[in-house]
């Protein structure tokens, strides 16, 4: 008997299928809230900004016309000489930026990526109540490793279109067959006396740009 068969047989002995005539199984009660509180779209974006800031992400707001200048400024302030670019990033986003573009290629090794100063991506969506951005490897986000190895990540969120209020609203909009990375503030640890320290292995600086009409 294979281990699979052995385990399945043990489970069936432990919890036999209910026989005919037994009471129907109760449905799972899902009377929890789909969203906590009521907010206008602008308030949802404010909440996202507040929660991201509380978890030590830097939040910026800009409209389409100012985006290229803002990204140029953020990269310059950081002193970035090289910036990673996902294949589908709208070219105008970095049209004013000085750093050398490094393209996200499958062949580039983790060691090569480690030498890159910054990365700029879009996102799949953002969750206001938890202060979370979600990446799904889409063309404007690239592979998971490019938002992991460089120490500085700038993520552009289109507001209000890409913002949802809550976790229950986020999941139906995501495709589980894609690799998903949920990011809530920069890398952090509380392992030393429960003192929160930002930045262990992931980017130590996370900047979120809320892109929309101001």
């Amino acid at each position: 008997m294979s281990s699979k068969d052995r385990i399945l047989a043990r489970i069936r002995r432990a919890v036999p299928e209910p026989g005919p005539g037994s009471a129907p199984e109760p449905a799972i009660s899902r009377d929890y809230l789909p969203v906590h509180g009521t907010r206008a779209p602008a308030e949802t974006v404010d909440l996202l900004a507040a929660n991201l800031t509380e978890y030590r992400a830097k939040v910026h707001r800009v409209d389409e016309g100012g985006l290229a200048m803002l990204l140029m400024r953020l990269l310059a302030e950081r002193g970035a000489r090289t910036v990673l670019v996902p294949p589908g990033l709208p070219p105008y986003w970095l049209s004013a930026a000085d750093p050398t573009r490094i393209h996200d290629r499958a062949a580039s090794t983790a060691r090569e990526l480690e030498g890159v100063d910054s990365v700029v991506t879009g996102c799949a969506l953002a969750i206001a109540e938890t202060g979370t951005i979600v990446l799904d490897g889409g063309p404007d986000q690239g592979r998971r490793r490019i938002t992991l190895i460089p120490d500085h990540h700038i993520c552009v969120v289109r507001v209000p279109g890409q913002v949802v209020d809550s976790v229950p609203q986020a999941l139906p909009r995501l495709d589980p067959s894609r690799p998903l990375t949920w990011i809530s503030g920069p890398s952090a640890t509380s392992d030393i006396e429960l003192d929160r320290v930002e930045g262990v292995h992931g980017p130590r600086t996370l900047e979120v740009v809320l892109l929309g009409a101001q």
């Binding site: 002995r13 640890t189 030393i192």
Partner: protein
């Protein structure tokens, strides 16, 4: 030994666990440990209460979490088969392991097949439970823990003492000393002028581990959840070491307990709200990684490993499932909220529980996964005051006190249990047989007042000969308690004399 072949230090052997009362006795005598634990548990329990209070529907989320887990456990065979099909369809390979030895053998063979001799690890309770690091070392494979706390534990030749914060028992000065003296023999040494600021310590760990991440070809992880419907695995973490291990290596091996399966992707909406708030008291943990087999690209575009293996681990879980009262322990999502509120854990620390699952959940999970045959496992159901705080905070409403009492009954009276899939009847634990013998003797004596009176008077007269410790089977009782003072006269003599005195007083009163 393997360490000479590898040219690196091997992992030190760790001594076996003593029984809870013995370990706790030592732990409560350590003032540094108690201060570290008290600081940490109080900090986190206050934060957790605030994070939970933010959600008006907490009770509804808790009920849903409980019901999803209970439903899954009732149909575990069906959901595991569905999971296997989904993972396989997405390009992963599923293995089934009935016990620790089988899981270790599977992982060891998978690693050896890659030609590699080192692996990086994401913090995982399941791999600690089965002793994977030790098994890999025996096969000449070095396993590097990459969670900061696990690194502290591993470099300190220590054992983890908390589910979430394994190095909770260490303060910053101790961590500095461990890093300064041990990092060099494993890889990049700590800087010469390393201080004890948490920021500096985290930076030292970052530099030390980064070289391991960048060269690692094989990673081993657990998972917080496995979604049957889609084959998606989910890991919640904070530091990014999880993302490193889950993304960069060529081969990923995940060892996951069979109880971690949930039916649908939608079910994550419950646990992604309750788990972070219960464990780290955050609205959401900094990083959550979800992957489904090898993904749509089947690993070909270099995003994530090119080979994914899922090892489904039983190791006592089906036996636990067979116990109708005890099976609720399998609902556990390893948030560790119960540890942080437990008055016993706060004083004794995690090591005293003698298992990778410490605290209240450990006191009910370990004796069920391992059986109550050993001294430590028979003692664990007693490592509690039954105050109920653990049940109050549990995000999946495990009635830990109920299971504790149920397990105490099993230890004291024996009864039917399932071990390795077979229904057996266990006998009362050794110490408890003595207790019952003592009770029988007491009944004999209490039924014969004359014999009792004579015995009591004899004892009173011999009271100055009272030993500090009882001999024979009573010794265990006096190991942790003072033997009470013996009164100068038996209670019944004292009472009779008192009544005589009152009669006399009353008579005298009437006379005057």
């Amino acid at each position: 030994m393997t360490r000479t072949h590898l040219g690196m230090p091997g992992f030190p052997a760790v001594p076996p666990f003593p029984a809870f009362p013995l370990a706790a006795h030592e732990a409560v005598g350590d003032p540094v440990l108690r201060a570290n634990l008290r600081h940490a548990t109080h900090t986190i329990r206050d934060k957790r209460a605030r994070a939970v209070a933010e959600l008006a529907d907490w009770d509804a989320l808790r009920t849903a979490g409980k019901e999803i887990k209970d439903h899954t456990l009732r149909h575990l065979d069906r959901y595991l088969l569905e999971l296997e099909a989904s993972v396989t369809a997405a390009g992963g390979t599923v293995h089934w392991a009935a016990d620790a030895a089988e899981a270790n053998r599977i992982v060891t063979e998978l690693v050896l097949a890659t030609g590699e001799r080192e692996v990086v690890k994401v913090k995982s309770m399941a791999t600690q439970e089965i002793g994977l690091n030790e098994a890999l070392e025996a096969a000449g494979i070095a396993a590097y823990e990459t969670d900061l706390a696990e690194l502290i534990v591993q470099l300190g030749h220590d054992r983890p003492s908390h589910i979430l914060v394994p190095a909770i028992h260490r303060n910053r000065a101790e961590i500095r000393d461990i890093f300064a003296s041990e990092m060099g023999s494993w890889g990049r040494p700590a800087p010469d002028d390393l201080g004890d600021d948490p920021r500096e310590l985290a930076e030292a760990a970052r530099l030390h581990l980064r070289e391991k991440f960048l060269r690692a070809k094989v990673a081993v992880s657990g998972a917080n959840f496995m979604v049957a419907e889609t084959g998606t695995l989910v890991v919640l973490e904070s530091e990014g070491n999880g993302r490193m291990c889950l993304t960069l290596p060529e081969t990923l091996i995940s060892v996951v307990g069979i109880e971690k399966v949930i039916p649908s992707f939608r079910d994550l909406e419950v646990f992604l709200q309750t788990l972070p708030r219960s464990s780290t008291a955050e609205r959401m943990n900094p990083y959550t990684t979800m992957w489904t087999g090898l993904g749509p690209s089947q690993g070909a575009d270099g995003d994530g490993p090119a080979a994914f293996h899922l090892v489904l681990l039983d190791n006592g879980r089906t036996d636990t499932l067979a116990d109708e009262v005890g099976r609720q322990a399998l609902r556990c999502i390893r948030c560790s909220a119960c540890l942080n509120v437990c008055p016993v854990y706060e004083r004794a620390g995690g090591h005293a529980y003698g298992s990778v699952y410490p605290g209240p959940i450990g006191a009910i999970l370990s004796p069920q996964l391992r059986g109550t045959g050993s001294e430590i496992d028979a003692s664990l159901p007693y490592a509690s005051t039954l105050c109920g705080a653990c049940y109050e905070v549990c995000p999946v409403a495990i009635d830990i006190p109920e299971v504790l009492v149920h397990l105490r009954e099993r230890v004291a009276q024996g009864g039917p249990v399932t071990r390795d899939g077979i229904r057996v009847r266990i006998r009362p634990a050794h110490g408890h047989a003595a207790e019952r013998a003592a009770m029988r003797a007491a009944r004999l004596l209490l039924d014969r007042p004359g014999a009792l009176r004579a015995g009591e008077r004899l004892l009173s007269r011999a009271r100055r000969l009272r030993p500090r410790r009882l001999p024979g089977p009573g010794r265990a009782w006096t190991d942790s308690r003072e033997l009470p003072e013996l009164p100068a006269q038996p209670f019944r003599d004292w009472w009779a004399a008192r009544e005589r005195g009152r009669d006399h007083e009353q008579d005298g009163g009437r006379q005057s």
